[in-house]
Symmetry: C2
Subunit: 381 residues, 2 copies
């Protein structure tokens, strides 16, 4: 989706994004207070911070999915990752929310690792790299706390026998012209990249296909991934499967702020990678773009602007463990009581603690990651 | 490849084909008497009738493949079938030649059954049908006499785990624009069909990939399949595999003759399907187009014209068991000694005998067909 001021597609996100406008352009529905209240109720009186703090803000067909759940028809949650390098903290957000749904709703989780897609869409990556990052990323994802008994993984190159019989049917429904229009691919794009969207669609239908009855699907994803799943939704009925519901998040701003032009040299400084050592984490946060003023005096007097601050975005999306803490940080930032240096110092500590706990969880995840990868098809047709 | 008078692509063959012209347009090499003599020598003093009688007439890099063989580097033979319905006798020809190479040169054979492709390229076929015909066709192909110990089968939907790791690498080398240009696919073509050519390329490189050293490949195929493998040859070096050699046949004329416009109602009468009962075989041959004259008197006087005769094409490609027999039929046809009715009667008997023997061989092939299907990849990358 391109506009004069911003571009959002699965392969490019650029400019200052007007999220309400984007929602209107994409034709998605607003995640209303009523819907949030409904989730709160079904989750036993709780809401995930990513829902209360406005990171997830848009959806397609969520109400019907919740209605079904309330009437005894559990959905499953599906999300994925294209492995091109180490994950950063913001990559984990959609999985945090998925894990919360799994825990609170007792539902199944499907994770897709698209090592084929990244090889096709990124000229510079080798197969060895996409496979290695696929495994590394998978360990990080499982470490957010998924339940081994209710989690399955499609690692494309290794799960192809499980995916392909259904992918054959899906691919016949998608003309090249649609892929070209939706993703803006050039005629020079390779035929793997063109085919790939069929494989990203398959997991949404897979349980329904495997079990022979409708299993509703909920996909939390960045709003930039909406085009993939719009196509999935378009072909669902023709294949006899339920349309997946979508829950869209805004993109989390990078640490360098909105006005820095990204390049290969500064890209690594724009996010906290999960394999960054503590000194690097500290350095990146210390140099992160904030909504602070030019002088301490001015900041004490006027307060800072959290909405444009990359450090505040980190508190908001992950590191404020409670809504009370998040409100306190926001209030003190706005009032001038909290200076950027102190705020960063406190965040650094939290991030260090998170990394330490994550490392432990990650080692445990390695024990069962292999057994979660689906390698066989449930049936031939 | 389109010309004013004829069209030859993997998805369309139409018009009166000028084979020498086609060879020039495709840029392939002539199968010369010198090359035939070389095959004759390497095969221990024998040539297959399809080689002596001019059905195979063109090639790419065959000389180098024979040189390699003579120097102790055996090639393997690769051919395949897109299963959309029953095979007819002419479908078996390329496999007859493959089997002859396997037997005379002691080499391995790879057979690909493309049940995915036919589902993607033929709108009216169901998955159930392409899979069912895939198996039926496979039994017929194996029944020509392949050696179970030296024959492997890629049945696409069931062998995808074995094919996909290499297909990922192959697909990145093929831009959409090339597929569009080579096959003339429309933007409305589905993305499976577009991707498919990657899978048809994989078996040509598979032994080299699996074994980690160059294994030369020889592909006997109809000249209409040349575009697929031209693309295979184009990308071979970039992937580090040897270019497959090709051996091209002319298309065998249908029973109804060159001037009948094919339709869904008469298509079945144009060929001898392997599942035709004897009465149908007899009926089809009795009504087949010949090079005969309008009256017996005229034919006795002028002789008939074998070159345009569909019955003669049957003798030529399969049913004349020796070159002596073939020459006798041709001579007697041309001289007027042999009338079309008698010629057809004799052919009918031969075809009946062939069908009876084929049915026995087919039952035996069923015993080992399953075990020949490759289902696992030899390595991950």
């Amino acid at each position: 989706m391109a506009d004069e001021e911003f571009v959002v597609t699965p392969y490019e996100v650029r400019g200052h994004i007007d999220y309400d406008r984007l929602r209107e352009m994409f034709g998605t529905q607003e995640l209303t207070p009523e819907l949030l209240a409904r989730i709160h109720h079904l989750a036993g009186g709780e809401l995930h911070p990513l829902l209360t703090r406005g990171i997830y803000y848009s959806h397609r067909d969520l109400a019907a999915t919740l209605d079904g759940f309330a009437n005894g028809r559990p959905f499953f949650v599906y999300s994925g990752r294209g492995p091109s390098g180490p994950l950063h903290t913001s990559h984990l957000l959609q999985f945090d929310l998925c894990q919360w749904f799994q825990r609170k709703f007792g539902v199944r989780m499907t994770i897709q690792i698209t090592d084929d897609e990244k090889f096709w869409s990124r000229g510079g990556l080798s197969r060895e790299e996409t496979v290695r990052w696929g495994l590394e990323n998978l360990y990080d994802i499982l470490a957010v706390g998924f339940d081994p008994k209710r989690t399955q993984v499609f690692f494309d190159s290794r799960s192809i026998a499980a995916l392909y019989p259904l992918a054959i049917r899906v691919a016949r429904k998608i003309p090249y012209s649609t892929v070209k229009a939706v993703f803006g691919l050039e005629p020079s794009a390779n035929i793997g990249w063109i085919f790939y969207t069929a494989l990203q669609t398959v997991p949404a239908f897979w349980p329904s296909w495997a079990e022979g009855h409708d299993v509703p699907c909920l996909i939390p994803c960045g709003i930039d991934q909406d085009p993939h799943f719009r196509m999935t939704r378009d072909i669902a009925e023709g294949l006899g499967y339920p349309k997946p519901a979508l829950l869209h998040s805004k993109m989390v701003p990078g640490l360098l702020g909105p006005d820095v032009v990204m390049s290969t040299t500064n890209a690594a400084d724009n996010a906290l990678f999960l394999n960054d050592p503590p000194t690097v984490v500290e350095k990146k946060i210390r140099q992160a773009f904030t909504g602070g003023r030019t002088t301490v005096e001015e900041q004490r007097r006027l307060g800072a602007v959290p909405e444009i601050c990359s450090v505040w975005a980190q508190w908001r999306t992950r590191f404020a463990e409670s809504d009370a803490k998040f409100e306190q940080v926001t209030r003190d930032c706005r009032s001038g009581a909290l200076l950027c240096g102190d705020c960063k110092g406190e965040l650094i500590e939290r991030v260090h603690r998170f990394y330490a706990a994550h490392a432990v969880a990650r080692e445990k995840a390695k024990d069962w990651a292999e057994s979660a990868i689906v390698t066989a098809a449930p049936k031939a047709l």
